[in-house]
Each structure stands twice: as C-alpha cells, then as structure tokens.
Symmetry: D2
Subunit: 355 residues, 4 copies
Amino acid sequence: MDRLGIAVIGAGYWGPNLVRNLRSSDDWRLAYVCDLDLDRARRVVGGFGDVDVTDSVDELLADPTLDAVAIATPAGTHHGLALAALRAGKHVLVEKPLADSTDHGGAMIRSAEAAGLVLMADHTYCYTPAVQKIRELVEEGALGDLLFIDSVRINLGLIQSDVDVFWDLAPHDLSIMDFILPGGLTAEAVAAQGSDPLGAGRSCLGYLSIPLARGAMAHVHVNWLSPTKIRRMVIGGSRRTLVWDDLNPQQRVSVYDRGVDLAAASDDPSDRTAATISYRLGDTWSPALPEHEPLAAMVAEFASSIRAGRPARTDGRAALRVLRVLEAATRSLAAAGSLAPVERDELPSELEVVR
Amino acid sequence: MDRLGIAVIGAGYWGPNLVRNLRSSDDWRLAYVCDLDLDRARRVVGGFGDVDVTDSVDELLADPTLDAVAIATPAGTHHGLALAALRAGKHVLVEKPLADSTDHGGAMIRSAEAAGLVLMADHTYCYTPAVQKIRELVEEGALGDLLFIDSVRINLGLIQSDVDVFWDLAPHDLSIMDFILPGGLTAEAVAAQGSDPLGAGRSCLGYLSIPLARGAMAHVHVNWLSPTKIRRMVIGGSRRTLVWDDLNPQQRVSVYDRGVDLAAASDDPSDRTAATISYRLGDTWSPALPEHEPLAAMVAEFASSIRAGRPARTDGRAALRVLRVLEAATRSLAAAGSLAPVERDELPSELEVVR
Amino acid sequence: MDRLGIAVIGAGYWGPNLVRNLRSSDDWRLAYVCDLDLDRARRVVGGFGDVDVTDSVDELLADPTLDAVAIATPAGTHHGLALAALRAGKHVLVEKPLADSTDHGGAMIRSAEAAGLVLMADHTYCYTPAVQKIRELVEEGALGDLLFIDSVRINLGLIQSDVDVFWDLAPHDLSIMDFILPGGLTAEAVAAQGSDPLGAGRSCLGYLSIPLARGAMAHVHVNWLSPTKIRRMVIGGSRRTLVWDDLNPQQRVSVYDRGVDLAAASDDPSDRTAATISYRLGDTWSPALPEHEPLAAMVAEFASSIRAGRPARTDGRAALRVLRVLEAATRSLAAAGSLAPVERDELPSELEVVR
Amino acid sequence: MDRLGIAVIGAGYWGPNLVRNLRSSDDWRLAYVCDLDLDRARRVVGGFGDVDVTDSVDELLADPTLDAVAIATPAGTHHGLALAALRAGKHVLVEKPLADSTDHGGAMIRSAEAAGLVLMADHTYCYTPAVQKIRELVEEGALGDLLFIDSVRINLGLIQSDVDVFWDLAPHDLSIMDFILPGGLTAEAVAAQGSDPLGAGRSCLGYLSIPLARGAMAHVHVNWLSPTKIRRMVIGGSRRTLVWDDLNPQQRVSVYDRGVDLAAASDDPSDRTAATISYRLGDTWSPALPEHEPLAAMVAEFASSIRAGRPARTDGRAALRVLRVLEAATRSLAAAGSLAPVERDELPSELEVVR
C-alpha cells in the first residue's frame, strides 16, 4: 500500500511527538516539517534528508503529492490553517482543542464535509489501550446503564497565560467521555464552579457538573494546584462499575461487580419510596491491556479513515461536542455556576453531506 | 475530682459506643441507659449493676445527681429531648446532626446559652488525631492562606430511607471544615449538584461547591454508589498543601512543601496578567500521630467544657453552621444547582448571653 | 443441638478473644474462665453470672458436663495442661504454638489420638476468608503446579524476651502454608538467616528458605524492626500467581493470569537449554471475600470436628509440622545458615490409631 | 573547556542510551559508534554527519584525538576490549557487569591503574537522584548505624539464556549497596538460595543473605517469575529507617523516624537480656528529589574523573566488589546455600599505584 504524504505544521511542544510517530508508521511518508522558526523545525527533523523543512505553509499546500497536514500550532491559528489546507484538498488532523470557538470549529467541519475530506482531532487519550477497552466494555453492555462518571485530573500544573484550567485540562476528560458514551457526549447543560485563589486572572481549579440522561451525572475535577497527581475516572453502571487509574500501570482498569440494586417493592412503579435495596459484593476484574503507544494508533486511524473515506473515530464533530461543553462551562462560570445550556447542533446531519 | 453523672438516651447504633467510652472515662459516672426498648438497653449495659436501665426520660431528668445527658436518638427527636434536658438543668451532648432544621437547632442553642449550660455536638471526626493535627497546622500558619479544600467521601453505602446523601455523609466533611478553619465554616453560599440515577427518590451521589473568602473554594464529593472507598481531604494553602487520607493508616496526613507562587512582575499590582509564576517542589512531611480513640477525647472535652464553664470545641453554634450549609444545599438542589445563600446568623452573639 | 461445654484457661492477651467468640457462638456454652489471677478472669467474664471464674484447673477438669478446654497460656505450659485435660477426657484447643518443642507436641498428639479426642491448634489465620479462598483455589488447581511461595511479615514489633523473631512471627506464615498446600508443609530442610543488629540476644529479623518438591521454594521474611508494615504472600503457580496483601482491605487477594511458559523445543526432554520461553499477560481477578471473624469460624470448626469425630482442620499434626520447621530453623541458625533437615515423622499414621 | 572525544562500542540494547546522553552532554564529543553490524550502528547514529560509523575497533583506537571508549557489548567481551583500549591509552567506561569473572575484572583494574587511566563501571542506578540522596543521608549519619538492608527486585522478566537471575538482576542491588555503604560493600561471605521451578536450567528466583559488620545483614530477593513488579529497598538504621520505592514516583524515598531503642538496664554491658526496649514513633519525611536522567549524570562523572585524574565514583574496584559477591553466591548455590566466603582483595592498594 502506498504511503500517504503528510506535513507537520508546528514544531513546538506537540509537533515532535507527531513527527516521531508519523516516521515510524508504515502508513505515512513525512514530507515536511513547517515552523516559522526554521531552526526549531530542523532540530525536530534531525539529520534525515528525506524530510523538507520549511516556514511556508503555502509551499507545502501547493505540493500535489501531499495528502494531509497535521496542525500542532496554538489553538487560535487552527481555524485559518485548517481552512487553507482543506481548500487545498488536504485531509486535516488538528491538535486539541479543535478550535478556539464553536463557530470556528463548526466552519472547519462544514468545509471538510463539503469537500469530502477527513477532519480529525488528535484526542490522544482515546487511543490509549485503557480507553479503547473501556469503550468496548460500555458498548457490549458490561457496565449496564450509565449511573455516573466522576473524573479527576489534578496535578501541580503550568498556569497557562491564555486559557483557564477548564480549557487546558478538561478537553481530555470530555473527549474521553465523548468517545466512550454511545452517541457521544450529548450534554444539554453544564454547571461550572471555578476558583482563582492566587489571583492569576483565571480559574486555576474547578469542577464541571453535567447532567446526563435518566438522572445520571458526569463530573470533572481539574486542578493546577494539587501537590499530588491524580488521573482517575470512575464510571458507575447499573451492572458494574469501572475505575480507570491512569497512574497505576500495574492495574489501570478495574471492573467491580459491586453495586446497589433497587427493586420496586410494590406494584405501583411510581412508589419509589417502597423500593427494596440490595447490594452486590462481587469479584473485581482487571483486564490485561495491550501495550501500544496511543499516538501510533491515532496516526493509523487517521490514515485508515482517509483510505476508507469514512469519518475518523475522533472526528471534527466529536471535537465540536467537546468545544460546546467548554463554551457552556465558560458561560456558567460567568453566571455564578448556574446551569448553562449547551448549544444545540446546527450542522447539517452527516447524511446530507454530498461527498 | 468528682465524676460527673451522665445518662445515655438511645441504645441503638451509636449509643453503645458512647456507653463504652463513658464507662472507661475517669471524668464520667454513667448512671442511666435509656431506651424505649428496655431489652436493648439492658444488652448495652451488660451485667454491670451500677448502671440503671430505664425507658423513662422523665425519671432520669428528675435525678438531681445527674449532670448531663447524651442524646443518641433519631435526629427528629433531638430538639424535644434536648429542650427537656436543658429545662431540667442538664448539660447536653447530641449526636450529629444537631437537629433536623436550623430553626430547631437555633432554639436549642438559645435555650442552652440562656441557661448557661453546655450544648455540644458529637462531631466525632474532629476528635481524631488527624483532624486535631490539621487544626494545629492551620492555626500556626503552616499552610499559609487557604486556597482550596477538596473532600471526597465515597463508598458503597446504605441508601437511607429518610435523608439524601448530602445530609447523611456531608455533615462529616462540613463539621471537619468548620473545626479546622479559623472562625469556622462561615460560607455565604453553596451550590449543590445531586444525582439519583437509580430512582431512589433522593440524591445518591452529589457535589457541594462552597465559595470561600479571597477566591478560595471548598468542594465536597459524597457518593453511596462507589465500589471503592475513598476518604480523602486536600487542603491547599499558599505555603504548603496538606493531604489527609483517612484510609492509609501508615501515612494519614502528608504535608507537601510544593506549590505555585505568583509574584507581580510589574509595579502595578492590578496587572495580574504580567505576574510571574514559580514552582516550589519541596519535601513532603508526614507527622507522627498519637493513637487515641476519638470518642474518648470527645467525652473528655464534654466534661472539660462543663467544668470550665466554656463552650465545647464542637458546640451548638458549630453544629448550626453545618446545618445551615446543608439547608442551603437542599435549596440549591431545588434550584437546579444555582448558588443558594447560606442563612445569616440571627443568634445573639455569645458575649451578650447572661450566664 | 446441645451446646458443648468449654472452659478457657488463661485470661491474658488471647483469652478474652476466645471468650468473646465462644460466647457469641451457638455451638458452645462457656462454663469457666480460669486464671491464676482471679481478678483478671473476672474482668474478662464481665457481669455475666452464667460463667464460673476459677483459679483451679483441677476443678474444671473434674466437671463431667465439660466437653472441652481452650488453652491460652504461655507456650511452656501447653504440654502439661493439655495432657491433664486429655486424661480427663476433654477435647483440647491450644493457642499457637502448639508446644515449646516437637517432643512435647508429639506427646500431646499421641495422647489425644490414643484417647480418640480432638486436639486442635488455634491457627487463626487459616480461618480468615482470604486463606480459606486461597486453599480452595490451590485445591481446584487454579494456580497449577506450585513454583514458589514468598511471604513477608514485617512491622515495628515488640522484641520478645523469650523467643526470637522466627518463633514469634513465622508460625503464622508456616501454618498458612501448611493449610493451603495439599498434604501440608512437608519440608525436608530449611535454611535460616537471622540478624541481631541491636544486640538483643536473639534474631530480630530473619529469613527462612524452604526447598519444596520439584524445585519449588518457600521463603519467609520476618522482621521486628521495619518501620512500615507489610503482610504479603505471593504464591507462584505454573498457571496463575496469587498475591495476598492482608493490609489492603479493598483487594486482599489478586489472581494474576500472568506467567512464563517453558516449552521444550527439541524432542529430547532433558535438553532444557533449548527450551522456548513464552509469556502470558492475562487478566487479573480479585475474588469477593465474605466478611466473617476468623475466630468465630475457628471455634465452629472445633465444635464441628468434635461432633463428627474427625480431626480438626488445623489439628495437632498440622501444628507439629510447623514446630518441626521452627526447630530445624533454630538448628540452621546455629550452623551459620546451612540447610538443616526437618525431623521426620515418627508418629503412627492416623489410620493405626484405635479410637 | 574542550570536549573529550569518545567512541561507543556496541549498538545493541544499551548503546543507544549512551549515544543519546553523550550527544547531549557538553563534556563529550561523540566521535564513533562501532558495531560489527554496520547498519545497526548507522541507525543509532541517525542522520548526524559528525559521527563516524565503523566496525573496526582498531580504527578508532588508533585515533589519537580519541580520549575514551564506552563498551556496551556482551559481558564476555569486556575484558578483551577494555585491555586493548587501555593499552591504546584510552579511558574506559564499561557496562555492568564489569567482566564475566573476578579474574578478568582484576586484570582490567591493574591495567588501568598501571597506566593511570580511568576505568569506570556504568552502575546506572548509582546516578539516580534517589540513590544519590540515600548516599548523602547515610554519609551524614542521618540513619545512624546500619542495622539491615532488604532489597526486593521482582518482575515478570526475560529468562536469560546465559546467566541466572542473580547475575542478571542482583548487580543492581549490589552496586547500589556498594555505593551507599561507607567503604563499599565489603562482605565477607554470602549465602544464596536459588530455585528453578520451571526447569529452565538456572535459578529463576533467589535470595542472597550477606552478613555485615556488627550483626547487620543485607538481603536481596530477585525473581523473574513475579506477576507484580516491586523495586524496593529498606535500609534500617539505629536512628532512622529509609525506604526507597522506585516505582512510586510521587514518594520514592521516605525516611522514618521510627525504630526500636535498646538500652542496657544494668552496668554490665554483657547482660543483654536485662536490656530495656523503647520505641520511637516519629515523623516521616520524604525529601524532594531533583529530576535528572541518571545516564547524563553518569557520563558527566566519567568526564569529571578523567579531568581530575581521580577514580570515578563507580570505578573498577567498586565493580570488582560486586563481581566477588556474585561469584561467592554462585559457590554458595553449589553448596546448598551454605555461607560462601567472598574472595579477599589481592589488588595493590590504590596508594601504591604509580601514576
């Protein structure tokens, strides 16, 4: 199978990881690394003569042998670069977040769908063995109906100068939820509580509460000021509950056959107070997870979706759902934490897109 | 020193613990165990002939040699029993929560203060070695200014038939916060998010967000549906951060000399965006904690406050502050999680009380 | 079913635990508590009038309604008390270790077997839900062939004035191994390495290595000087490996479907160097364990073995196997850690005993 | 300061790590990568034109601008390569183990010392921040007198075809002990217990007991068959005890101010049985550790020792002490675990070396 030609735009923090994985992939031929700082681009390329270094996006977009671009620049530039690439007929992979606003994100999606090109978000966590396994288990019904999701992502972190802790960290939690929930993260509203106790000018720690269907709730705790590091998600289900502890390499995913059962004690189903409660205290099971680098799986999925002419698993629409929750969270913060509705989908449905 | 005479009212779940600790205390002479179920009362007393068993509160309140009563009955009965005991001139210890409403709790406090009697809440956690040490460290400034408190108390728990998960579990977290914060938990508002995914008729898991002074925030996660048990409180300070993991007996309290420092980079203190950030990655320290049973320390404090004619450490006012946050949380739940103001203090200040 | 009458001899450290469990058992009628210190015996009995307090063993042995005695006195007295009780026709339960020497232990066993009475050792750990489950799993072949056992039991412990760390702590590990191994702990030799770095006059920390059949090995690490507490046993098998972490109440027993497989690559089975190696990295499974007090299960087994006229699960012979390893360990220590043979069984086989 | 020229010999498992660290060091100019497989060497070098690739050791040894070589070939070849390099006047760094026998190791040391050249072993763990801190703490007396060292290094590991588990894993533990003990690991004897339950032809798990001065003991547990991974060393001292848990990045090193004190109760110091025992249950302290790559510190030490004309911190003699313990362990294994004396030092003392 022929390799697809790709350019990486942006040689900063994330770009080198993309370069390394694209290079060791059989799907891709890395053709360009592009950065305004040519020296930085050169360092990323190393001594390999088969990769061009450039500071001109136009140059690489004009290359007819190039199939795709991977954009790893600051979020504010994603919209412009992606639209240019799509206009040039290139498939586009974008580092998270997809864009700096839902308007921009929506425009990128419409442009890609109109052109029949793949627009994919680099939601890296979705390609970890743990999250892939969680998605499988949810899909096959191992957990039963969803009761709650509780996600904690805290650490002593870099206080960003442009975004608050929600926009910095919560995209991880939200994109994971979007990935594992059947139908994606279709939240109707979100309440956000933020705190800026250092006077940094933006929330340095905060909490998102997201009511879900049938009384379930998702909750996210993000924090730049915690001296200890926790990355832990609990997914409670009516049949089993799953705990993902990403910092425990010896047992990342545990599935507990424990829980509470509520059975109506009367014939009147509305008489809930008469329900009887029982507990299950069953076994715990921790599935073996394959070892693979998530970024390698991510770039493989990008190639695969291009070749199959299908949306990528973490496509633009998935990324837009994440942006919408983040924007609603920002509105909730401004309204003292009141529930803020999540913007409704005004994109054409995918079926209407003429490819 | 003469022992103080005391009666325990209620021989159910908590009463036997009080009986055991009062008996092994040099401060107290346990005179009565009172329960409507006399057999239950007898079993709690065991074969010891020096303790009277009764089902009549009037009988014990009429005993002039009795100094105090300890009430361990359902919350709805606290108000009536406490007022009767105070009218009879007895000091009163009440199991948490102090009462089933702030109105009832306020009346109990006014009655006790008017009579110059001690009214104390059995906030047991406040008498653990860990919480005592945390209070000390906060008081002496070891943590600096308070930035955030994050408390998690989750487990597979009994779904209560009368109260939701907030009223069942959060009194622990709130009474601890009240105990360690200088001036107590003087929250102005609270936002509560609850979830009842099983259709039990009340929240089975939920979150409280409590904005504190100077941008700080307290947050509580309570959950009856978690297959794993966590009891963990993080107290972030400008100098150090403390983590209390109550389920790690080998290192319950850890103090991290780690954090983020923000220094104004310009002379204009309002120019926060120009602040420079630095990190401290210092040592961790875990203080040795004495081993003692919290209930023994609690009953000693009750005796000590009576003898010194001073309010107990966890007095009625402390318990009322907890009730107020819980009542506000209930109002917030009814308002879709909007911030609900915490009722203001309309009690006379303690200085005005004529003793 | 009639209750069996029993007396507890010795009201020191362990006696009260026996008293409490015998009392709450439906199998037993606690008739006496015997101690040279009558006050101590009275305190253990509490106010219950149905239990006699005595300082005379002769008195209780003369009581024809008494079926059994439980001996919880210092090890040096076990032999004399047990023989007297057996001569009086009483079944006997003995706190660990069974006796202070294999000679004494052997005499006790012969006496009990000759009289057709039950002689049982209180190997409490064997009655924990964890060890019961481990025995089940080993029996049903879930682990495959035994490859190794590694047991660690360390803590800051009381330096005993009469016994070294091996005799103090290792009986736990050895009695557990005896319980879970099919056929019991039939070791042929043991090597012991001890250390007395404080000059206490006896080993305060040490290691036992016990070669087992087919190249397997058991190893025990006991230590009074460790600042951290570990109670962990790993049982490696050809199919699966089990880890028992007694201090992790949330996951005491884990079964790893991981391991190394060695397959002969040539037709010559003796050509091991040509073997090919493969790894299994399968799931981990942690069985739910029932909650019960081990001592309650232990006293139930004592009653059950008496009623069925069969040896108890942790009978005298099991306890003797433990003593033999300990005595061999003492000899190994005296020989600079050389392998010391474990004394062979010179008892008549159980089949020869006339009952 | 001029950079020192160096060649890396061996481009297999470890070589690339050396290449990467030498390249990013300001002390070194990487001049050659040498491997019999030129393609492999080229891949390690990447596209950098300033490094020569060769399969001829003679060629690089003949280069007068080359100051040193780093040998990362199989252990059996270390002796020959090192002697050739030393004869050519090059300083030598050798991957662990220094050699395949003490005879070979001794010859290498004599040759280096006679020529006044640095011979250094790549005992990488000694350059981790944790071990550096442990050495400091031991040196400054923070732990007091050494009581015991207990090291566990177990994991599901590759069964080596040429060496047993002792020679594969224990060099890590032994080189660390040699590094942190004042005067190095000067053991007089060692007892080894090994087990080959799979019939692999060599020990797959085993234990080393090493009596130290004044009744102290070191013990090492190495195991290729453990389904869980543990890398943990406890260093017990008369003042404090240190625990190094290498797999706990959040708290690798903990220092416990806990322990047992033994004070003679009589004037007769030989009367140990009359000693009184007391316990300290003090605080725990976990020092912040700098973050640096150990290999970077190791290559810096190599350069520094060359420039200062002093032995490296992990010099040939240190590596020889490790080899001697391993050889004694092999003899102990052959003698059923009896204590085997560690060969005495017959090298000239360093002071006698004419430089």
